[in-house]
């Protein structure tokens, strides 16, 4: 459509968006303000401007150390690395396991498919509060407690079903003609999958991986429960440690939260183009 929009229309849509952006950013700006504030006299304020600005909280979080023998370990860097490692592995495991399965669900008909999909959807409806303890005992049985692998296994238990649902819809939306053409040209079914369908689904796979990454990256209860060494903890556990039994260091909590969310924001920014196309067909079908 090549109509020129009227000026009023243009202004109206920008107005709507600016208001929406303000709504979206306002609570986050309070977190930013808290992270950079020194002493705060309590008063009801409208604008989230840091009071008595300071970088002390940020420094305290980033430079937290631990002495092991004569060696000083920068906990923050170590834990940031753990977070990224665990979240990447979760995303990779989730997506790698889900890709062939979701492809099969989209392209084949087989005995047990409907029942399988239905029960997979059903698992999403069961609150984790009851299944957490059995999962813990299972990890113990597998000897995976106190290891990052165990944590990844735990996270994978949620990321795999999610990825299967997302990617199944994605593969369904990709036209089969190309694969069929490849098979007419002599490719096997598997080659067609690997060389035709997979590249076409790439943006969607990236987005699904991003979701899996995020959910693992932000989790702390399981991480604190499963891991047995401070050097193995992930960043959200560090954040949580600023909240004690009687009191909490909210400024450090906020400062840490900001740093923790930076990589995710960066990933979102990079992936935002795909985010739209990747989700086009995503979703769950029962």
């Amino acid at each position: 459509m090549n109509r020129k929009p009227s000026l009023a229309e243009s202004i109206a849509s920008h107005l709507v968006l600016v208001v929406a952006v303000a709504f979206a950013l306002y609570p986050v700006l309070w977190v930013v303000s808290l992270a950079f504030s020194g002493a705060r006299p309590p008063e009801a304020r409208v604008f989230p401007v840091p009071h008595d600005p300071t970088l002390a909280h940020l420094e305290a979080v980033v430079l937290s150390t631990k002495k092991v023998g004569d060696e000083t370990i920068y906990l923050f860097a170590r834990q940031a690395l753990n977070s990224i490692l665990v979240a990447t592995a979760t995303a990779a495991a989730g997506v790698l396991i889900a890709i062939p399965t979701s492809y099969a669900l989209a392209r084949f008909r087989f005995v047990g498919k409907e029942a399988g999909v239905r029960s997979l959807l059903a698992t999403q409806m069961f609150p984790t509060v009851a299944s957490a303890i059995p999962l813990y005992l299972l990890l113990d049985y597998l000897g995976l407690l106190n290891s990052r692998t165990g944590l990844v296994v735990c996270y994978a238990s949620t990321s795999v079903p999610f990825a299967i649902f997302q990617l199944r819809a994605v593969f369904e939306s990709i036209p089969v003609d190309l694969e069929e053409a490849a098979m007419v040209d002599g490719a096997t079914r598997f080659q067609a999958f690997l060389k035709v369908a997979l590249p076409a689904a790439r943006p969607a796979i990236a987005v699904t991986a991003l979701f899996a990454f995020m959910s693992a990256y932000n989790e702390f209860i399981l991480a604190a429960t499963l891991l047995g060494k401070e050097e193995m903890f992930t960043l959200p556990v560090l954040l949580q440690s600023y909240i004690g039994e009687y009191d909490a260091q909210w400024e450090r909590f906020a400062a840490g939260a900001l740093i923790v969310s930076l990589p995710v924001m960066a990933l979102f920014y990079v992936a935002q183009r795909h985010l739209v196309s990747g989700l086009t067909s995503g979703g769950v079908k029962g």
Binding site: V21, P42, L138, G282
Partner: protein, 756 residues
């Protein structure tokens, strides 16, 4: 193409590296128990952690493996890991959880780690005594005392009422006193002055009778006099005192560390005042910090030696010097001129040791609610306490009697038989074989996922669901009770079916919660997507990224930020109202968000809508890209109005794409426990709790009744499965048309019918 394979390979390598790195400690020959380092767990931070580090550094007997754990995860981690032999040898915690620890076999008597009882202060040692044995070594005492801003109050009034009466002489906007009036921990000190115990000697609810009610009336009076700020929680107590907006504060030794030097100069600590009404001093709860030894650690002499070292006089001196922790030993001198610690030592002498019985933990939640109700003025003290007692009894009600597992075995047996017969019939009909053969190629693609999902998702879920047939409580062993948990929940435990906290009322709130959230997620997200989708829009990428921000920042942080914004006195929403009043001359009153259901529910919903609209926006944006321009163009040429184009063309075209995401969003919202827990916390009076937060309370704050929580989970599960089934059935005609298509295995045909 190559990059694709490369990427998968890198991912695989990362996974492998992880596996190897995780296994590495295991590759080193497994050390015998006697040789491995002593594992020490604690939940200390800052000054206390530094003091602990210094004490541990002077211990020479063995190598140590020290693990600080966030307080929130501490008890759960102990309870999960010690029983399976994966816990610490020694840990530091407060004595009030001793009852739970003993019930779960997490602690052992200290044995010869105790040099002699005379070294310790009597009450501190009594706190860790049970059944004639000593279960921990006291290393410090914690209780509340009175912090004085000497610049505002050079003289300390003799009693609490006297402090309140300072209101008229203090500068405007300065409160005489600030403390966490809404919680039982601080209120217990006033209860102490009235001689009211939290728990009776036979472990019944103790906060009953006229004196208990008078204590609440007193606090209500403090609030009416504006002697204390309303709703002072968490950081606010400290902020008000530090900013010089409160003459007195009631807090503990941990408060000292957060004071700047300038504030410290004008601060001193004295024991809590008397209460004029009774003439008795306020008696705060006393928590005794202690070193506990796990059953595994108790077998090793060097662990007991370490415990002795941690509780030694020298160690107490270190903790006193670095963290200002009042010692629990009789032989450690506290400098009398210390303006901070000496008062706490004095205060500890009149403090009431917290009960370590598991029953005492069930007093907290009902009492917190009762206090808040009275302060809000929605209940008289008598009513509120009656309700609290009722709640306590409800949590402590006897577990259902053990049931015979025979009916279950019978039902399972019949089900198995039925299933086997069905399979057999299918196999005999001769259709199954060829169908299976045709399915074989597909199975190669799904086998690993079936294994993974089966082991990691389905198995824990089935076991979890099965726990709903058992009943347990911290100190009582688990027992099979059949469907008793379900019957209890569905009959509201014998109470009225629509009472506060009953399954049906909570279900109604949950349905409202889900409906409101999903509605706004879809409309808000959809509307923004439509605006963003306008082809001529400038700055689209920027808007898009900024609007996704709520989704990218960890929700436990932003939910807390929202909660702060809803604070009646100091929240940003109130700031906004005042600003509007200033600009437009309106007279908008600050809203007390968490004191009525409607406003608290709104606060929760606004937070969750904020968190969830970006997802729906992104999904809708994606769906909109599939609407072809030429169709819209044609409609425009035909003279369709903007509204007609939207409702007759765009919406019908994106609906099928949106439907699955809306379903998923509804399921997520139904089980969105975080927001409710962090923002309203169920306030007022548990009315904003939804089913999932109710399940969490039974599992974690009501004495670990996991069976009961599991029963809630199963009910949630059944409700959701039932709902999605009904919804699916409604679109059955289309589905069956698809099923009728021939050519199994012909993917093209399948795709085309689905697209049609």
């Amino acid at each position: 193409m190559r990059s694709r394979i490369l990427a998968s390979f890198t991912a695989l390598l990362v996974l492998l590296a992880l596996l190897v790195s995780a296994r590495c400690p295991g590759l080193v020959a497994p050390a015998r128990a006697e040789e491995r380092p002593i594992r020490v767990w604690h939940a200390k931070r800052d000054a206390e952690a530094r003091a602990l580090g210094e004490v541990l550094a002077t211990y020479q007997g063995a190598t140590l493996d020290v693990l600080p754990i966030p307080y929130d995860a501490f008890a759960r981690k102990l309870e999960a890991s010690v029983p399976i032999g994966d816990g610490p040898d020694l840990f530091i915690d407060q004595h009030d959880r001793l009852g739970n620890f003993r019930g779960r076999n997490i602690v052992a008597p200290v044995g010869d780690a105790l040099e002699g009882e005379a070294a310790f202060i009597g009450p501190a040692l009594d706190a860790v005594r049970a059944q004639g044995a000593i279960w921990g070594l006291p290393i410090g005492q914690k209780c509340l005392a009175l912090f004085v801003n000497t610049a505002l109050a050079p003289e300390v009034p003799a009693d609490l009422e006297g402090i309140a009466e300072l209101k008229s002489t203090l500068p405007r906007g300065v409160y005489p006193l600030v403390y966490e009036a809404q919680g039982l921990y601080a209120h217990a000190a006033i209860l102490g002055a009235f001689g009211v115990p939290l728990l009776t000697p036979d472990e019944q609810f103790g906060v009953v009778g006229p004196d208990a009610a008078r204590s609440l009336t007193l606090v209500r009076w403090l609030l009416d006099q504006k002697a204390i700020p309303e709703d002072a929680q968490g950081a606010l107590v400290g902020d008000l005192f530090k900013a010089g907006q409160a003459a007195f504060a009631i807090s503990g030794p941990w408060f000292t560390g957060g004071l700047s030097e300038a504030v410290k100069q004008r601060t001193r600590v004295v024991p809590l005042p008397r209460v004029r009404a009774t003439g008795q001093p306020m008696r705060p709860l006393l928590g005794v910090e202690a070193v506990f030894i796990t059953p595994e650690g108790a077998r090793r002499p060097e662990v007991r030696a370490l415990a002795r070292h941690l509780a030694s006089a020298a160690a107490s001196q270190v903790r006193l010097r670095i963290a200002g922790i009042p010692p629990a030993r009789a032989d450690v001198e506290v400098p009398a001129d210390d303006p901070f610690v000496s008062a706490f030592v004095e205060q500890a002498k009149v403090a009431v040791p917290q009960s370590s019985s598991p029953a005492s933990r069930s007093v907290w939640d009902p009492m917190d609610r009762a206090i808040r109700k009275v302060l809000r003025g929605v209940a008289t003290p008598e009513e509120a306490l009656d309700e609290a007692k009722h709640r306590f009894d409800d949590v402590r009600r006897p577990l259902p009697p053990p049931a015979s597992p025979a009916p279950l075995a019978l039902v399972l047996g019949v089900l198995c038989l039925f299933g086997a017969m069905r399979w057999l019939r299918q196999a005999r009909s001769g259709e199954l074989g060829p169908a299976l053969k045709r399915s074989l190629p597909a199975y190669k693609y799904v086998l690993h996922a079936v294994l993974v999902v089966g082991v990691l998702v389905i198995a824990p879920l089935v076991v979890g669901a099965a726990t709903s047939l058992f009943a347990s409580r911290q100190e009582e062993p688990q027992r099979y009770v059949g469907l008793a948990n379900f019957i209890d929940i569905l009959t509201a435990r014998g109470g009225p079916l629509f009472a506060s906290g009953s399954f049906y009322l909570v279900l109604a709130v949950t349905l409202l919660w889900t409906a409101v959230n999903v509605f706004f997620h879809v409309t808000l997200g959809g509307a923004l997507a439509l605006v963003l989708h306008r082809p001529t829009l400038r700055l689209r990428a920027l808007y898009r990224v900024l609007l996704i921000v709520p989704w990218a920042v960890p929700s436990y942080v932003t939910a807390l930020s929202w909660k702060g914004m809803f604070h009646r006195q100091y929240g940003a929403v109130t700031g906004l109202l005042e600003w509007l009043n200033g600009v437009f001359g309106t007279r908008l009153e600050p809203i007390s968000w968490f004191s009525s259901f409607a406003t608290a529910f709104t606060a929760n919903a606004v937070t969750n809508i904020w968190l969830g609209f970006p997802f729906m926006m992104v999904v809708t944006l994606g769906a909109l890209t599939a609407v072809p321009d030429d169709v819209l163009e044609a409609a425009w040429v035909d003279g369709a109005s903007r509204w007609q184009r939207l409702t007759l063309i765009v919406l019908p075209m994106i609906r099928p794409t949106l439907a699955p995401s809306v379903t998923l969003g509804a399921i997520w919202t139904f089980n969105m426990f975080n927001v409710v827990f962090l923002v309203s916390g169920g306030d007022p009076d548990g009315t904003t709790d939804i089913l999932i937060s109710e399940a969490y309370r039974w599992a974690f704050t009501r004495e670990g009744q996991y069976g009961y929580a599991a029963a809630y989970s199963v009910l949630i599960f059944l409700l959701l499965v039932g709902a999605t089934r009904t919804l699916n059935r409604r679109k059955l005609p289309a589905e069956s048309a698809k099923e009728a298509q021939p050519a199994p295995g012909d993917a093209a045909a399948q795709i085309h019918t689905e697209a049609a």
